[in-house]
C-alpha cells in the first residue's frame, strides 16, 4: 500500500493560560492520501484551526505541541528547524486563511505578493515570477492587468482568489484551507468552492478543508473528520457519514443544518454549548449534551474504534 502523504499520530496541542492548560487538540490521529480531500468539521473552539496550524508547525504562541508526531512526505514536521520549516511552508504545504480582507498586505501590490513568495522560495528571476503570477491569475479568472493593483481595489471574493493563487503558486503537495469561505457571501462562496474544485483537479492537490459548514465538506471532501472538544470523534468517507452518522454528535450536527433532500425535516439544534477546554467533563467529553448518554459515558473516555469502515469514539459502538 502507498504511504499516505500526511500522517498525524496522537497529536496534542495545549495553550498556556492563567487559568490552566487549554487542551485545544487531544490525541488526534489521521492520515491523508495523495490527491484526496479531508474535511475537518466542528464547532468554534473544537480545535480544528489549531490542528491546521500544527501541521505547518506554526501553532501560535502561547500554544505548544505537547505530544504526537506529524509525518509529511517522509519528513517529521515537528523535528524540523525553523529554516527547513520555512522552506516547507508555502512550497510544500500552504495555507488559505479565513479572512481574505486582512490576509493580504495592504501596502503591497498583488504582483509583489507573488514576487515576494517566489523570492523566498526559489531563485526565479523577476520576469519569470511575474509571468507565472499572470498565468495564475488567468487560472483564477482575474485579468492579468490587475497584478499592479493594490488589495483594497479587489473585492473579498477576488482577494480570496488571490490568496488561493498564492497558496498554489509553488505547486504545494498539501493545501490547508482554514474556513476559506466563511467571510464571503453565499454566491461568492459557491464560486470560490467551484474554483477550488477545478484547481484541485488541475493541480492534483491534496486538500485539508477546515470548516464549520457541513454543506461545504459534503460537496468537497472525500473523507470527513468530525472534531469535538479537541478530539476526532468520527472519521470516515463523506457519503457514509452523511447517510448514516454513528456518533450522536455527528447526528446532531447533521440535524442542525438544513437538509436539501428532506426540506420537511425541521432543524434541531444540539442543546447546551461546547465544553470549557480547561476543565473538561469527565468521561466522554460530549456526555453532558448527548441524547443517548448512559452510565459508562460519565466514567471513561471512549477510545476510537473501527465500525462500518470508519472510526468512531463512542461507547455505543465499543
Amino acid at each position: 500500500m502507498v504511504e499516505p502523504l500526511l500522517t498525524v499520530r496522537e497529536l496534542s496541542v495545549e495553550y498556556a493560560s492563567k487559568r490552566g492548560q487549554v487542551k485545544a487538540v487531544t490525541d488526534v490521529s489521521l492520515f491523508l492520501d495523495k490527491g484526496s480531500t479531508l474535511g475537518i468539521v466542528g464547532e468554534s473552539g473544537s480545535g480544528k484551526s489549531t490542528l491546521g496550524f500544527a501541521i505547518l508547525n506554526l501553532v501560535p504562541s502561547p500554544g505548544r505541541v505537547v505530544a504526537g508526531k506529524i509525518m509529511f512526505d517522509h519528513t517529521d514536521i515537528l523535528k524540523q528547524n525553523e529554516d527547513n520549516m520555512r522552506r516547507i511552508r508555502g512550497a510544500e504545504i500552504s495555507m488559505i486563511f479565513q479572512d481574505p480582507l486582512t490576509s493580504l498586505n495592504p501596502l503591497l501590490k498583488i504582483r509583489d505578493h507573488f514576487t515576494e513568495l517566489f523570492r523566498v522560495h526559489s531563485s526565479t528571476n523577476h520576469e519569470d515570477s511575474i509571468s507565472r503570477a499572470g498565468q495564475l491569475l488567468d487560472d483564477l479568472g482575474i485579468a492579468r492587468e490587475r497584478l499592479s493593483d493594490y488589495p483594497h481595489q479587489f473585492s473579498g471574493g477576488m482577494r480570496q482568489r488571490v490568496m488561493i493563487g498564492l497558496a498554489l503558486a509553488l505547486n504545494p503537495k498539501l493545501v490547508i484551507a482554514d474556513e476559506p469561505t466563511t467571510a464571503l457571501d453565499v454566491i461568492v462562496e459557491a464560486q470560490i468552492l467551484e474554483l477550488m474544485k477545478k484547481l484541485k483537479d488541475a493541480y492534483g492537490l491534496t486538500l485539508i478543508l477546515v470548516t464549520h459548514n457541513i454543506g461545504i465538506v459534503a460537496e468537497m471532501a472525500d473523507r470527513i473528520a468530525v472534531m469535538y472538544a479537541g478530539r476526532i470523534i468520527e472519521m470516515g468517507p463523506t457519503n457514509d457519514i452523511f447517510a448514516d452518522p454513528l456518533h450522536p454528535y455527528t447526528k446532531g450536527l447533521l440535524e442542525s443544518a438544513p437538509n436539501i433532500l428532506h426540506p420537511e425535516r425541521s432543524m434541531r439544534p444540539i442543546p447546551g454549548s461546547p465544553p470549557d477546554l480547561i476543565t473538561l467533563p469527565t468521561g466522554c467529553k460530549f456526555h453532558p449534551r448527548c441524547p443517548r448518554v448512559f452510565e459508562t459515558c460519565r466514567m471513561s473516555d471512549p477510545l476510537p474504534v473501527e465500525c462500518k469502515r470508519r472510526l468512531v469514539a463512542c461507547h455505543l459502538y465499543a
Partner: protein
Amino acid sequence: MVVIGAITVLAVVMMTILSPYISPFNPSAINVGPLLQPPNSRFPLGTNHLGEDMLSRVLWGGWVMLQVAILSVVICSIIGVTIGLVGAYAGGFVDKISSLVMDSIYAFPGLVLAIAISAMLGPGVINMALAIAVVYIPSYFRVVRSQVLTVKELTYVEAARALGAKSRRILTRYILPNLLPSVVVVITLNFADAILTAAGLTFLGLGVPVSTADWGWDLTYGRQLLFSGAWWVIGFPGLMIVVTVWGFTIMGEGLSELLNPKLREIA
C-alpha cells in the same frame, strides 16, 4: 492645519538657510552700531549690549537649533523604531527588557536628562543632538511597539509566515511600512520638542560657543538685559522659538489627524 504648520516651518527653515544672503550684518560682529539700541530704521530689531545687530542674529539664530533638531530626530527615530520593532516582534524577554530600559529613560524629566548627558559629553552640535536623541528614543519606542503588537497579529503577517517568509522580511516588508505613518507624526511632534530642548540647553550654556548666533543663547543674556528695559534682545529670539515650535506642533497634530482616520472621526 497641516498647511499652516508646514508654511510656518518652511518659512523658518528658508529664513535660516537664506540668512547668510539676507541678513544686513554679520551676526557675530560686535559694534556694528551703538549698544542696546531699540528697534529703529537702521536696526529694525535693535542691537544688543555688544552692539550686534539683532535682526541678523534672529535670522541666523535657527542654524544650530535646526541642525541639532534634525540630527537628533534622525538618530533617535532610527534607534527608537529599531528597538520598538525588534522588541515587540520578538516578544517575551527581549520585549520586557527593552520596555524596562525605555520606561526608565522616560521616567526622567526630559530636559534634566538632556542636561546631564550634554554636561557629560561637553558642548557641540553633535553632542547636543546625541543628548536630545537619548531623551526622545522612548517616544518612538512606545508608538512603534504598540503598533507592532497590533500589526503582528494581523492575518497577512500570519499568512506571510505560513507561506514561508523570513522574520526579517516580515519585519521590513509587512510590519514596518504599516507603521510609518505614525512614525512620521511622532517625528514632526518630536521636532518641536527637540527644538525646545536644544533651546533650553543653549540657554543654560551647555550648547554652543559664546559668540554663536543662537536664539537660546540670546535668551540667556537677554534675560539680564530685560531688567534694563531692552526687551527686544530677548523678545525677538524668544518669539522665533515659539513660532518654530508652534509650526512643528501644528503640523504634527494635523498630520496625525490626517494619517489616522480613526482619530479624525472622533474629532
